[in-house]
Amino acid sequence: MSTPPVAADEPPLIRIRDLSKAYVRGTQVIPVLQGVDLDVRRAEFVALMGPSGSGKSTLLNLIAGIDKPSGGTLEIGGVDIVGLGEGDLADWRAANVGFIFQFYNLLPVLTAAENVELPLLLTGLSRRQRREHVDAALAMVRLDDRADHYPNELSGGQQQRVAIARALVTDPQLIVADEPTGDLDRVTGAEVLSLLDELHRQLGKTIVMVTHDPKAAARAERLVHLEKGVLVADDANGAAEAATAHAR
């Protein structure tokens, strides 16, 4: 599942220009994102930070293809996902995006292995092949001995690791993580972050993560800061200092 090194002249994986999103409530138009320009290179680990209501989760949802912008362009891997219909967008997500949610969002009636297998059902892989991929993904997150456990038999950290395995199993080019440590204690959260870090370094995955947690943000290579729907800072090198300042 590892990806080749990034060439210097390689175009960005994610290319966002003048992206905006607004909600309409009756006659009122509520802007959530305004004029966002952002490029994310392949194999980058980007953290989106900002106060509540800053639009960071909205930006993540747009990048993940689970929401539609009101304006602007959004290209991922050369595909203009804004122009895709609902069915094509679903297919694109299945092939290109791995999701890690704050509350894991595992199906409670499926075992860990079955939850990890879910995205593979949308591929043409045989049952045996799916099993192999599932076993590999669970091994990667060091939960191969919990494959037949149900979510309610796993700790929060273990459930999040299952979710990470599910996000990886189809080898997507992009991983989106919305507050992956938000529901975990500090120790477990650190374990999950280490795992994400490891996946980023070893597999070269492109990760875009929303977080309130400065420690989580410090793991990223790059910190993008939003306030009131506007991108106010994009610090590629000083991610740790920016996160610390935000924490103060």
């Binding site: 949802n61 993940a64 689970i66 929401d67 609902e86 069915g87 679903a90 297919d91 997500r93 299945a94 092939a95 999701f99 949610f101 969002n105 199906l107 409670p108 009636v109 499926l110 297998e117 879910l118 995205p119 059902l121 949308l122 599910r166």
Partner: protein, 388 residues
């Protein structure tokens, strides 16, 4: 296969809720089947009618008899193959609760017209030979434990006095629609006994209740009926001839309001369980909103979500429906036992079973329709935010 596995797991997620929903379905499907069977039983006589039999009765009322000498004239009508006759006897066996139909008939011609009453030949001959003999249907014999040779006393109501018959035969119906809860005896025995007992007052001794007319071609039913009635127009006993089916329907028509009410109740029961199950599926869908949003986020289309919810609903409906159909049989048997000879034919027909299954599946489909459509259209972001 994965979808089926997921359906089963989801259906068993809330065992109590699923069980109670199924119980409701079982009760509704059972009630629907039982009520339909009651309606079918009412029409049993109609269903058992033959297209080659007509019934000729007094045009004024069924309670008015017809002269015996009409038989030869009817026999001579173009299109008529055979003629027989019958009198409703209306006797009581031990107690009024032991009601069953008794007919005084001309055995040779009557049994020829009703080949569905299957009698062993020796019993038939014994019956024909014994003027005081009688034959009964299998179900009636089993009910009272009668055997060939037993004496059957009846207390007359329309024909006063005690009437004792010797059971000479027990017939089996040729098919499930044949009435096996009636008794046939010799019309001549009735006539002669009436004449002996009543003397000059036995004027009705040479009168029959109805004529049963066998026609050669079913398509000629209307024409032959008109010919027969034309024979006796402007006589003291004008006739009304109709197909056996129409004759049987006239009895059903007397209870039509009841039958309509019973049918209406059977459909209302299904509607009620449909509403209950729709509520159950709405609750289920609301609880799993975040899961459906997750599936959509992962790339599963709206169709998958619809199949998930509708499939679960149909699965519950199928299991409940099949259980309801299975339970209908013992309930119908119990009802038939309690009703006694009121419904000579009381069977859960294949059509009723098919309708029961159809009703159950319809309930499952309709109950899931709205929630499945809604869930398929949920916005992923809104769904992910939902807390069940």
């Amino acid at each position: 296969m994965f979808l089926l596995r997921l359906l089963l797991k989801n259906a068993l997620r809330h065992k109590l809720r699923t069980t109670l929903t199924m119980v409701g379905l079982v009760v509704a499907v059972c009630a629907f089947g039982l009520l339909r069977t009651i309606v079918d039983a009412w029409y049993a006589g109609v269903e058992a009618s033959a297209s080659t039999r007509l019934v000729t009765r007094n045009a004024i009322s069924l309670t008015f008899p017809l002269p015996l000498n009409y038989a030869e004239r009817i026999r001579a009508v173009d299109g008529v193959g055979s003629v027989s006759w019958a009198n409703w006897f209306g006797g009581i066996y031990v107690s009024e609760r032991n009601f069953f139909a008794q007919f005084a008939v001309d055995p040779p011609s009557y049994l020829a017209l009703y080949p569905e009453y299957v009698l062993p030949d020796e019993q038939k001959q014994a019956f024909l030979r014994d003027r005081q003999g009688a034959v009964v249907g299998r179900k009636l014999a089993d009910k009272f434990g009668w055997k060939v040779g037993d004496a059957i006393p009846l207390r007359g109501t329309l024909y006063p006095g005690t009437w004792t018959f010797t059971l000479r035969g027990i017939y089996d119906g040729a098919d499930a629609k044949t009435d096996e809860q009636q008794m046939l005896f010799h019309w001549k025995f009735l006539s002669e006994t009436m004449r002996q007992r009543a003397g000059a007052a036995g004027a009705n001794a040479d009168f029959v209740g109805v004529y049963v007319v066998g026609i050669r071609e079913p398509d000629d039913a209307a024409l032959v009926s008109q010919r027969i009635d034309a024979l006796f127009r402007n006589s003291l006993a004008e006739t009304l001839t109709e197909t056996e089916k129409a004759f049987q329907l006239s009895f059903v028509a007397m209870s039509e309001a009841i039958l309509v009410a019973i049918q209406a109740v059977s459909y209302i029961v299904v509607l009620i369980i449909m509403a209950v199950m729709a509520n159950t599926m709405m609750m289920t869908a609301r609880e799993r909103l975040a899961e459906y949003a997750t599936l959509k986020a992962l790339g599963f289309g709206p169709g998958f979500v619809v199949r998930l919810l509708a499939g679960e609903s149909l699965l519950i409906a199928l299991v409940g429906g099949l259980a309801g159909i299975a339970l209908t049989f013992p309930l119908a048997a119990g009802f038939a036992q309690a009703a006694g000879t009121l419904f000579p034919i009381f069977q859960v027909s294949p059509l009723t079973q098919a309708l029961q299954l159809g009703a159950a599946l319809l309930v499952g489909a309709v109950a899931a329709a709205w929630p499945a459509w809604r869930m398929s259209r949920i916005e992923i972001v809104a769904g992910l935010r939902h807390v069940a």
